[in-house]
């Protein structure tokens, strides 16, 4: 039996985190870790009250760093399979057992929850839709792979994958399409699973504002370019030193 865990990065999610934890607990009983990214509200307290194990950053470092803290903690505690889900309640956890089942069967190394393969759910804004389409095309061109939801943070992966993410080369700003391109190049099998997603209850987004969006696109293209000029085994070799 493989050791499994769920990591949930959360920043100022005091209003949602307890519900997210309760929803997850209804579908699975695997170890659950909340990565509180230096929240200014009562996220930590609410998560603890809901019975979760909380890892708290001393200050806010961003979504990517919170994810990496989860990867490092899972590696430190010898977990074999890791699932990541957002702390804002966007991701509906009913498919979690299916994620674990598919990864455990060895069908793939990374499984991404796609809102576009599922039935219904919410419709992203036009700008996000354009971005998703652009990154879909990039993945298709570079990796010859069909990924319908490259910006989804609802993912499940094997230890071999999250071990690589514990290295400083992990793009902590925005781990999205760049990661998928990199994993494909490294020979990992990346697949998708249909999931249902809700809109953020408070309408928050990581990519709000023109400057933030421009910076997002810039870092994404730079990161993809760096991945392309790096040798296929570069990140694997680095991860072996961890």
């Amino acid at each position: 039996m493989k050791k499994k865990c769920i990591i949930i990065p959360a920043y100022n999610e005091g209003g949602n985190i307890a519900n997210v934890i309760q929803e997850i607990k209804k579908v699975t009983d695997v170890d659950l870790f909340i990565i509180d990214d230096g929240s200014k509200d009562h996220t930590k307290k609410m998560a603890k009250q809901a019975g979760a194990y909380v890892i708290s950053h001393p200050f806010n470092m961003g979504y990517g760093v919170a994810l990496q803290t989860g990867y490092k903690f899972a590696l430190r505690n010898n977990y074999d399979i890791l699932l990541q889900i957002d702390g804002d309640g966007q991701h509906i956890p009913d498919m979690i057992p299916e994620f674990f089942k598919k990864i455990e069967s060895g069908e793939c190394d990374v499984l991404i929850g796609s809102r576009f393969l599922g039935k219904g759910g919410y419709n992203p804004r036009l700008l996000k839709k354009i971005g998703i389409f652009l990154f879909k095309v990039i993945i298709r061109l570079i990796n010859n792979a069909r990924i319908t939801d490259p910006t989804s943070g609802y993912q499940c992966m094997t230890k071999e994958v999250f071990r690589i993410f514990t290295d400083d080369s992990f793009p902590c700003d925005y781990p999205d399409t760049n990661i998928i391109v990199r994993l494909h190049r490294m020979g990992f099998i990346v697949k998708e699973l249909p999931v249902t997603m809700r809109e953020n209850p408070e309408g928050r987004s990581m990519h709000k504002g023109t400057l933030t969006l421009m910076y997002y696109f810039f870092t994404m293209f730079l990161s993809i370019f760096i991945s392309l000029i790096s040798s296929k085994n570069y990140y694997k070799k680095k991860a072996l030193d961890i």
Binding site: C5, K25, D29, V30, D31, L32, F33, I35, G51, A52, Y53, V54, I55, S56, H57, P58, F59, M61, V65, Q68, T69, K72, F73, R76, N77, D168, C172
Partner: protein, 121 residues
Amino acid sequence: MTLLQKLFGILTVLTIFWIIIQLVKKGKLREEYSWLWLLTGLILIIVVLWYDLLLIISKLIGAVYPTTTLFIFGIVFLILLSLHFAIKISHLTYEVKNLAQKISFLEAENEQGDPGDKPVS
């Protein structure tokens, strides 16, 4: 270059040297960074004492006036210095991140024990 200009140049460089040494002595500037500024001062002294070198370099890079050469090298130096500090800041950012993550683990384990021992449901 007139004697007065030479004296002014040397005096300026010696003042810079003295400030750098004092900063290192008081622990406000690490030795690691002081060498760069001392080297800059040394190059300036050489240029002041051996003005012909500046003329030769100007001829080599095709500059009409020696002052242009000084400005070009000054700007290049400042660009490289900025790059050096950007590298340092990036390195420190990684270190702060890794340190903060380690503190988070230790604090969590100290408060809540080993994650394997804690029943989730």
